[in-house]
C-alpha cells in the first residue's frame, strides 16, 4: 500500500508491503525493513527500522497522524492511495473563502476590523484572552473582511469562527 505523507511543506511517497510476515517500506530507491508492534493498551508503538529502535506514541485520526518520538512531536497528514484518489475527485472546489478561528477558548478582548476592511498578512484582527494571556490573532494572508461573527466581551469556544475573509 502506498502512503502520501505530508509534514509541513514536504511530501514523501512511502510504500509498505508485507511478504511472509516481513514488513518493508520503500521510500524512493531506499527499502527499509520495518518491525512495528502495538504496545499494551494501544496508542504506543515499538518501531524498529533496520534494527534501530524507536519508542513512538501515536494518535491517528483518519488522515491526521500525531507522533511523539525522538523527543519531538510531529503532526503529519498521511493518506493512502485509495484516499488520495477519492480526494482527487472531491477536490477542485475549495473557494477563496477563509475563516479566522479561535485557536483556543477564551474571551474576545478586541476586534480590530470591520466588514469591508482590507487586511494585510500578519495584521492583528482579534485579541483573545485565555489563560491570563492576551493573544493577538493575525491574518494568515492578505484579504478582505466579509463578515464579523464575534463581539468584544464574548466568551468563545475553541475553534469557533470569529471572522470570515476573502
Amino acid at each position: 500500500m502506498k502512503y502520501f505523507v505530508r509534514l509541513g511543506d514536504e511530501e514523501r511517497v512511502i510504500e509498505l508491503q508485507r511478504h511472509a510476515g516481513r514488513l518493508t517500506a520503500r521510500c524512493g530507491d531506499v527499502v527499509h525493513e520495518v518491525d512495528l508492534a502495538l504496545v499494551g493498551d494501544g496508542g504506543a508503538f515499538s518501531l524498529v527500522v533496520d534494527g534501530t529502535s524507536y519508542d513512538v506514541v501515536a494518535e491517528a485520526q483518519r488522515e491526521q497522524v500525531v507522533l511523539q518520538m525522538v523527543g519531538e512531536r510531529f503532526v503529519l497528514h498521511c493518506e493512502d492511495e485509495r484516499e488520495r484518489a477519492a480526494h482527487a475527485v472531491a477536490g477542485h472546489k475549495a473557494g477563496g473563502k477563509r475563516e479566522l478561528h479561535a485557536a483556543m477558548p477564551g474571551i474576545v478582548i478586541d476586534v480590530r476590523v470591520k466588514v469591508g476592511d482590507a487586511v494585510e498578512e500578519g495584521q492583528t484582527l482579534v485579541v483573545l484572552e485565555a489563560m491570563k494571556m492576551q493573544n493577538p490573532l493575525t491574518a494568515e494572508a492578505a484579504g478582505k473582511v466579509t463578515r464579523v461573527v464575534c463581539k468584544v466581551g464574548e466568551a468563545v469556544a475553541g475553534g469557533a469562527v470569529l471572522l470570515e475573509l476573502e
Binding site: 514536504e10 502495538l38 477558548p105
Partner: protein, 504 residues
Amino acid sequence: MSDPSKPKLFRRILVANRGEIALRVIRTAQEMGIETVAVYSDADRTALHVRRADQAVALGGNKPSESYLDIQKVIDAARRTGCDALHPGYGFLSENEDLAEACKQAGVEFLGPPPHAITVMGDKVEARKCAMQAGVPLVPGLQEDVDAAHLVAAAKQVGYPVMLKAAAGGGGKGIRIVREERQLIEAFELARAEARSSFGDDRVYLEKFVTRPRHVEIQVMADKHGNCVSYGERECSVQRRHQKLVEESPCVALTPELRAAMSKAACDLAKSVGYVGAGTVEFLWSEGRFYFMEMNTRLQVEHPITEMRYGVDLVREQIRVGAGLPVSPVPEPRGHAIEVRVNAEDPDKYFPSLGTVSRINLPGGPGVRLDSAMFRGMEVTPFYDSMLAKLVVHGADREQAIARCLRALRELRIVGVTTSLSVAKRTLESAEFVAGDYDTGILDRIEKRAAPRDRELAMLAAAATRFLLAERAGATVEAAAGKGDQPPRWALLGRTERLRRTMP
C-alpha cells in the same frame, strides 16, 4: 510520619493555591506531619491538590476572582477549618499584602514576608527606590509610573529599545519590549490592559532594554531573628514572551566573586525591608555586571533546581521560619541542576493548547524529579495558566545534567494537548545553550523545526502506523476465522483488493 513526642510547628496549613505548587506544599507538610487544607474552584473539584490534601473546602466559581483570588473566602476557609498557618504558593494571592494583613488579623501565620515587605517589593517603582537605598545597582530608566501623555518623550529620553512593565506585575506578565516609536502606543495600551486584568492595577513603568542580558536570580531565606541566607543563583534566561522555559543552576557566567556580591546584595535588600521567609531577587546580568530587576516575595516556580543542588526542602524551611525557628545552616551545593517547564501550548505560536490529557508517560531513573498536578483524564481549561509539569534533573556536572535532561525529555510523553517539550529539547541541544554563552534572546535563535533525519523518520513512522492500524482492522476479521496467527491478509478483503491489483 512524625515523632508524636515532638511538638508540631503548625497544626494545619491552608494552601491558598492550586496545581503543582499546591501539591508541592501539601507534600512537604505531610512529610512534617502537618495537616493541610485545600481550597478549590468548581472547575478543580477533582484536581490533585484537592485529593491529596487532608481537608478540602469549596470556594465556588471558576474564575480566579471568584475563588483563589477572593481573600475573604480564603480567610474564612482557614478559620472554619482551624488552620494556624497559610501558604500562598506563587501567583494568585501570593504577593498580596491584603492577604498577609488579613492572616495577621485572623491569627493565622502567613508563610511569606510581612505585609510591608510585600507592599514595597510588589510595587516596581518603590522596589527600585528601596534597592537604590540598599546600594544595589539598577538598570537605567524611569522609576515612576508613566502615563500616555509623557510616554513618547520618556521613551525618547531613555533611548530605544525600551521595556514597558506593569508596576504590580510579576512572572513576566504585562511586559512589552518596544523597539520603535511607532509601536509604542499600541504596546502601552496592551500592557496597561494586561496589567489591569491580571493585577487589577494598570500602572506601567518604562526602562531601558539592556542588550544581551541574562536573567540571574538569587534565592534567599530570612527568619524572624534578623538572619538571611542565600542558596546561590538560578539562571533563567531561556524565556519566550518573558515567560521562563528552562532554568539552570549554577549560572556559568558567574565568577565566585560576582556570586558572592549578588548574594550579599540580595540579602542586604531583604534585610532592609525586614523580610521573612523565601524570596527571590532577580537581576539582569550583562557583560560581567548585575542590575536589580525586582524581588519576588514568594517561592519561585523554579525553586526545585536550588533544592536539588543543596539537598534542602525550601517549603520545609518556609514552614520552619514561619514558626519562628532560625534558618537552618546552608549545605554545600553539589553538581548542576536544570528545570524545564512543560506548558500546554502550541510551540510555534506560544498559544495555549486546551484539551484532555489522555496519556502520560513519565520519565524516571537517576537524578530526575517531576513536579506536576497533572493526571490522566485531566482537562486543560482556559481558567488557569498553562504549565502542566516541571521536569527537574540533577547531574554531577553541567554536561551530565544537560544529557540527563534530554534523556528525560525523550521519555516524557503527554498526549491530548500540545506541549512546549520540543522547544526545550532543541534549546538544550543547541550549540548556544551547550556552550553556556546565551542571553534572554536565545529562544528567538533556536531552530524551529526538527532535524531533517528525524523528519524523514517521522514520515516513515506515520505511514507504518497507518499500515499497522489498517492491518489490525483486517486482522480482526481474520482472527474471527481462526487465522489470527497468520500475517493478516487484509489485501484480500473487499475493495482494498481492487486497489491492490493496480499496484506494481
